[in-house]
């Protein structure tokens, strides 16, 4: 048990502290029905990273982060401008297109650089087992600031996603939402990879939608689901010697099935 804690301590801390904000943002995303925006934003940020590597910077330099952040903001602008009430072209299609084009551009850029491929692979798969405490605290600090913005402006953000009447200057608030979302997603992708990020965003939110109606209720269900799945996944990964990220995703899948069964039972 002690050696388990030694190895699993920091992954456990990361999985308990960080998904909280992801679950909340997941509720927004699921409500807006733009499930793949997180994948698209993560890919756009990676494109920024690729460009930085091509320009000769190291993947962990501040210039890299700068390029990545800049591209995230551009991506957020694109999604703001394409959010129309016009349902001829679903926004999801445009998001998919952005994702694919960004991925292709990334491959094209990295074909001209030596270490780019490793970087690309790492982003996709990630490994929460090797997370460092410094990374965790910096991400917690960033999430605290973003959560504070969401608390202060909860009226406007909730009206955007859940309300019928959008707030004044809706485009501006939309843009801010996507920018902050982009930062949250790209920082978690650095720790856990795209698959784990996507799972934490969507699965607890869907479970919450099955089991609760009010926002506080959905948040509670979402947080409980995420915590349970994290602990189960980490334990399973240690006991059965499985890759950690994949184990957590599977655990999340299990909770989704359970929630569906409970909801069906109640109906």
């Amino acid at each position: 048990m002690i050696e388990a804690m030694d190895i699993m301590k920091w992954p456990l801390v990361a999985c308990l502290l960080l998904p909280g904000l992801l679950v909340y943002l997941g509720l927004h995303i699921v409500e807006r029905e733009i499930i793949f925006v997180d994948l698209a934003l993560a890919q756009v940020a990676v494109l920024g990273n690729c460009l930085a590597i091509l320009l000769g910077h190291d993947a962990h330099d501040w210039q890299s982060y700068g390029w990545s952040a800049g591209f995230t903001i551009v991506g957020a602008a694109i999604f703001t401008l394409t959010r129309t009430r016009d349902h001829r072209v679903p926004q999801e299609a445009l998001i998919g297109i952005v994702y694919v084009v960004a991925a292709a551009l990334g491959i094209v850029l990295l074909s001209r650089s030596a270490e780019g491929n490793e970087e690309l692979r790492r982003t996709l798969v990630g490994d929460v087992l090797l997370v460092r405490p410094g990374e965790i605290w910096k991400t917690v600090a960033l999430y605290a600031v973003i959560a504070a913005v969401h608390v202060v402006f909860r009226r406007q953000f909730l009206a955007l996603s859940f309300g019928r009447q959008p707030p004044a200057a809706a485009r501006g608030w939309d843009f801010l939402f996507y920018v902050l979302f982009g930062f949250v997603v790209t920082s978690f992708v650095q720790i856990g990879g795209v698959l784990l990020t996507f799972s934490y965003l969507i699965v607890p939110a869907v479970c919450a939608k099955y089991l609760a109606d009010s926002l506080p209720g959905r948040l509670s269900v979402g947080w409980v689901t995420a915590t349970l799945a994290s602990v189960l996944g980490l334990c399973g990964s240690y006991r059965l010697d499985l890759p950690t990220g994949a184990a957590i995703v599977c655990a999340l899948g299990v909770t989704l099935v359970l929630s569906g069964m409970i909801a069906r039972g109640r109906a």
Binding site: D6, I7, L129, L130
Partner: protein
């Protein structure tokens, strides 16, 4: 395989982390001594700059960060840092340097303070309640400080106790040799009177048999007025005072004016290594520079 890599990485990290002790001192003279005693096993940072007035240090927020990471805080302890240190320490969330903790070293404990006031009254200027806090100008007080600091280091980092004690012994022997030399150089001037801008030098003067009781400031912290300067000039002429001691943050022009009136020479002194050119190598080198400059000035003035 991954687990093995992780464990060896964390083992390496912990070894590296234990190597250096994080020492923060309030003034650069204590930093120089901590460096002598600690050597390679410590990283030393001084909060006040060498040319800065220690009574008026600007307590920047970056000090909060430095103190938060510190294992040891070394302060004078004679209320020189009164205006800025305790409010800072309250914000640092660091239990290792709380008053009374092992990592909090107040050097004044090891030293006997001079000029302890018997009444406290701000109409007498900005006086220090515990006595004159500029005690590090006496090299024997510097030795006492080094002993106290070495003791603190040994208590917090017992593994390196041998190294600290060896470094202390080396420092002490160097100091004793130089002390004999300094006493020889200033011996011929026993009883000579020197003027100073502020009452920083009683310990230095006391060690070498000089008199430092004439100040350009009428009261501590109060700038000189024409009337007070006239009085000082008269006294300097009467006692044939040859030297006026001024520190980097004090008004040199006032001292130069008095010097031209009396034929004395203005000496650039500093309490801290690095405050004046030629003093940045360390504590012993600082005292050496001060003794040399003073001896040269008093020699020139000899009839």
């Amino acid at each position: 395989m991954k687990i093995f890599i992780l464990m060896s990485l964390s083992g390496l990290l912990s070894v590296v982390a234990q190597a250096k002790l994080n020492v923060v001192t309030t003034t650069p003279d204590l930093a120089a001594i901590a460096h002598e005693v600690g050597g390679e096993r410590v990283t030393v940072v001084a909060l006040a700059r060498p040319m800065e007035d220690p009574h008026f240090v600007a307590a920047k927020p970056s000090f909060v960060v430095k103190l938060n990471r510190a294992d040891v805080l070394i302060e004078g302890g004679a209320e020189l840092e009164l205006g800025w240190l305790s409010a800072l320490v309250d914000q640092t969330r660091n239990p290792r340097i709380r008053p009374g903790a092992a990592g909090r070293v107040a050097v004044a404990r090891a030293v006997r303070l001079l000029e302890v006031p018997t009444t406290l009254d701000r109409s007498r200027g900005d006086i220090h309640a515990l006595g004159n806090p500029h005690f590090m100008t006496d090299p024997l007080n510097g030795r006492a400080a080094a002993r106290l600091i070495a003791e603190a280091f040994c208590q917090i980092d017992p593994a390196a106790g041998e190294a600290y004690r060896a470094a202390l012994a080396q420092f002490e022997s160097r100091l004793e040799t130089k002390l004999a030399d300094w006493e020889k150089r200033l011996g011929p001037f026993r009883g000579a009177r020197v003027a100073a801008y502020h009452n920083t030098w009683p310990y230095f003067a006391g060690r070498f048999g000089l008199r430092s009781d004439l100040f350009l400031e009428p009261k501590p912290g109060i700038p000189p007025t024409p009337a007070s300067l006239a009085g000082v000039i008269a006294q300097m002429k009467a006692d044939k005072v040859r030297a006026i001691i001024v520190e980097p943050y004090q008004n040199r022009r006032t001292a130069e004016k008095v010097a031209t009136e009396t034929g004395a020479v203005v000496l650039d002194f500093t309490q801290y290594p690095g405050g004046v050119k030629g003093t940045d190598k360390g504590y012993i080198e600082l005292i050496d520079h001060l003794v040399g400059t003073l001896a040269a000035a008093l020699e020139k003035g000899r009839p």
